[in-house]
Assembly symmetry: D2
Homo-oligomer: 297 residues x 4
């Protein structure tokens, strides 16, 4: 299969189950909602070394937010217990503290719900108020009153949807990955948690050559500079750089949509030479996203 002349590998991305919270961060203007959302989703690229995976889903207009102000939707992903802790900490430290920002539940239909009990911060000066049909707390703070929710829905979603953008050189691959990340930014219910939405260094579980335990080391089969030094290199001829786009989403369909939109954007960039995806031969993950299926839909 080819798209805009770029061969698409006959393979699949392997994804994993994860719990996801969706939080609507609002602010007096888009800029202030965005600033809070950036802080709340930082240091959250990969569950391997970060306390969670998180990212910005996209802007939400004032017509769609509980308090009628402009907003930014974010997703926070992880194991259930860790997720509960991270939702509390990231709202308490990064949204409650941010100028004019407020947090609302972005999954009001979810059955699984967690109460972060942030109103204790009000030291009994807080009171209950209703905003846009939501039960909120009004907490006196320095800027005035913080008004937001404290019960958040969580759903079982998908982590690790992915594809590889391979280029004839690094800058071509990078711009292909950038075009993909930009395009995915418009897909609802999905995030790309790595810096700017792009992964430069893929990893394998464990280590081949070091004897002591290491959780993850470089995936030498996908390293262009090792193409002639390792057996079974996955780097096609004519490719000298690879970037991965990793997608988390609320549902399988959300992830598929993001993969399709991202691949279609990447292949438009001159110098992009091959599209593939990462998997563990189907042995580790719950979900398989075949590239041909994703692109045909």
């Amino acid at each position: 299969m080819e798209l805009n002349g770029v061969p698409i590998d006959d393979t699949f991305a392997e994804g994993f189950g994860t719990w996801i919270a969706r939080i609507i961060v609002t602010g007096v203007t888009e800029e202030y909602a965005y600033n809070a959302a950036v802080e709340a989703t930082g240091f959250a690229t990969s569950a391997i070394g970060c306390p969670c995976e998180a990212g910005i889903e996209g802007f939400v207009s004032g017509e769609e937010t509980p308090d009628g102000r402009p907003g930014v939707a974010i997703l926070i992903c992880g194991g259930k217990k860790k997720l509960k802790e991270q939702v509390l900490e990231r709202i308490a430290e990064c949204i409650l503290t941010a100028p004019t920002a407020a947090a609302f539940d972005g999954l009001p239909e979810a059955e699984e719900r967690h109460d972060i009990k942030m109103h204790f911060f009000g030291d009994k000066f807080e009171e209950k108020v209703e905003v846009g049909g939501r039960q909120c707390w009004k907490i006196p703070i320095m800027e005035g009153d913080y008004i937001g929710e404290e019960v958040y829905g969580m759903v079982k979603g998908v982590a690790g949807g992915n594809f590889f953008v391979m280029g004839e050189n690094q800058m071509a691959a990078l711009m292909g990955a950038q075009a993909a990340a930009d395009a995915i930014a418009t897909v609802p219910n999905t995030i790309t948690s790595f810096p700017g939405g792009i992964v430069a260094s893929g990893s394998k579980v464990g280590s081949l050559n070091y004897k002591f335990p290491i959780p993850a080391t470089t995936n030498e089969k996908y390293c262009p500079s090792l193409k002639d030094k390792v057996p079974d290199s996955k780097i096609p001829d004519g490719v000298s750089a690879v970037y991965e786009i990793v997608i988390n989403g609320l549902t399988e369909d959300d992830v598929k949509e993001a993969m399709a939109v991202g691949i279609e954007a990447a292949v438009m960039v001159p110098g992009v030479k091959f599209i593939s995806a990462g998997n563990f031969d189907g042995n580790l993950g719950t979900f398989q996203f075949n590239l041909y299926d994703v692109l045909k839909e």
Copy 2:
């Protein structure tokens, strides 16, 4: 004392000692260095609930970086043990993974040094190289080769330098705080770790009204909406919103410079009515920054 007609409170900011690492993040363009730096300094507003405090110090030109590429300097602050862990995790998860990004030590003269041993990620495919006089590791990754340092200096610096911007209404105080944060962004060796550089909700240690232990609750004396409800409110007449600017810096002089530049910017904004600072009567912190001294220098 008045500045541009705005009264300056006769008080001082109380600061604390903290260990600080300074990392130079470089990239193929400013944009990609910046993307990595944003991710690496996220979820790091306050040591109360975040694993560290971190922020962007500023841009560094290619003439000043070890690899000659454009860079962004960041500071990471915390207790020594926690700081060592966070320097590793934030470089490994947020810079090694970021497209074209690399990390270099921004405190090469510091005596206290920590080796994050990130080269093990290379699984013995890595090799030592020298870049700009620095001992680096070249680690094969998907995008090509990551080339950066792994020993980072740490110094004893200052956390918690601060001042309050008080306004006749919320938007005036916010723009005053924004002008201050923008101005401080140009001061070397300093960061403001809160979202966009501005704090909306100050806290006091413990709780007055809840009987169970809470590490921090709202500082009711600085809440405008509680001015008439609590004794000893610190909110002056005519003020209805307060923002705090919190500054960490390598030295006392760096923090003073940032405080002065920030206050001078804030008082230029129409509707800003009063400037004060936060302290614990000198009982808790190592450093005292008197506002008059800071502004006279």
Copy 3:
């Protein structure tokens, strides 16, 4: 009528007919399409002193652009003859010259069409090609080949839709206007041509006090600092700053939608005290947009 507690004036905005071209600017990534669009729509706030009025309508995904790359839609507005000249000059100087950018017609159904004949720039090295069903020219340039259209539709649209955001002080009014401008940025087929979408200085036709001819002078009735110095000041009590949002759009309904969305955003900002609109008693313009009608729809 009140909205979120803010009184809405019982008045109307008076709009004018204008010719409008809509151009889809594409690029290798959103950033490069945007850079070209910003340059092409600069120096174009008001037909009084600029060669045209122009602005960015919004982002267009690669699924909707003729060449499948990410794009930015812009509107250029003016008298028919001037518009033809400006469409040529702004495409030739600001899009043809911009890295990876290309221009396509955003009004393919329009009957009135203008051929800017830009292919002569190719000095007979150019050739015709079809892209996405559009008849394009491929012109060799330094970066490779420029591929875009050169016949552009024009329609009779609306200029001068507007409303006033009045605040208890300047920063409140400014943030109200900013929230409005942000919200309008998401409304298709409309632009706000002034810097950042906000007007700080309204004008009246001619002059009261200078005897020689001046095309426009300050509209003293809307100047808060002249409230007590001129008769018939339009500044309500409690208001000390006014910003105007001026909207151009393809149709009356587009302008109404933008006005409604913008006003609904502005009234959410604390310190915004009054919403009104500008007109010439219905004597000059073709269109009247009553605020109550606009908000009820």
Copy 4:
């Protein structure tokens, strides 16, 4: 000569004399100063088809601006008569109208001075005031009072300093040009007037193949896709894309500094293969900037 392994052509850039005004645009925050500066410098890439050449020089701190607020310095360039007209129109339409923005003279030492007489806009409600030692006008407007200067210095400076960034493919050349444009953005007294600072389509005077008069057509000798179709192609083997960086500056030394900084940044980008410069064999311009001289200083 080589720089980071990239050959530097033994040639020179040919520059021209131009009149330049330097304007300091201030605002309540950097963002609002910047918004005004962007509008005021738009549609100003090349004097061939735009009314002037203009661009953003850089940010200026509140410590360096006449009114103590954050600022952005811009340069406007052109023939003396046209420049006077453009300084008036761009300040009147793009800065006076922009929220919180004000304009001040950035060349107070210049002997050649032009009075734009913008105070007539005040309709005799204006008054003289002194700000930071500058003679200003306070003009009542909707947002409050506009306070800025109206006499602007002009100096004879340099237009058309330039160099070419050539890459093994388009994305490599583009990122090289981007790194160059970013670096030049920090050089005082210089601008790059094209979109994002980068030129994609160079031109020659007149036409080879069309018989009717055309002021400028594509420079076929620098078109990679015509390398094998035209005699005397200037495209080296292995190069498939070229971007030009064009620099205007107050003095020859400013332009040289910008050229050096830009070239040094471009050669750091992987895939950049050659650096050259554009000239007319020394027949047309006043200034010659030899690449070797520029880089040795």
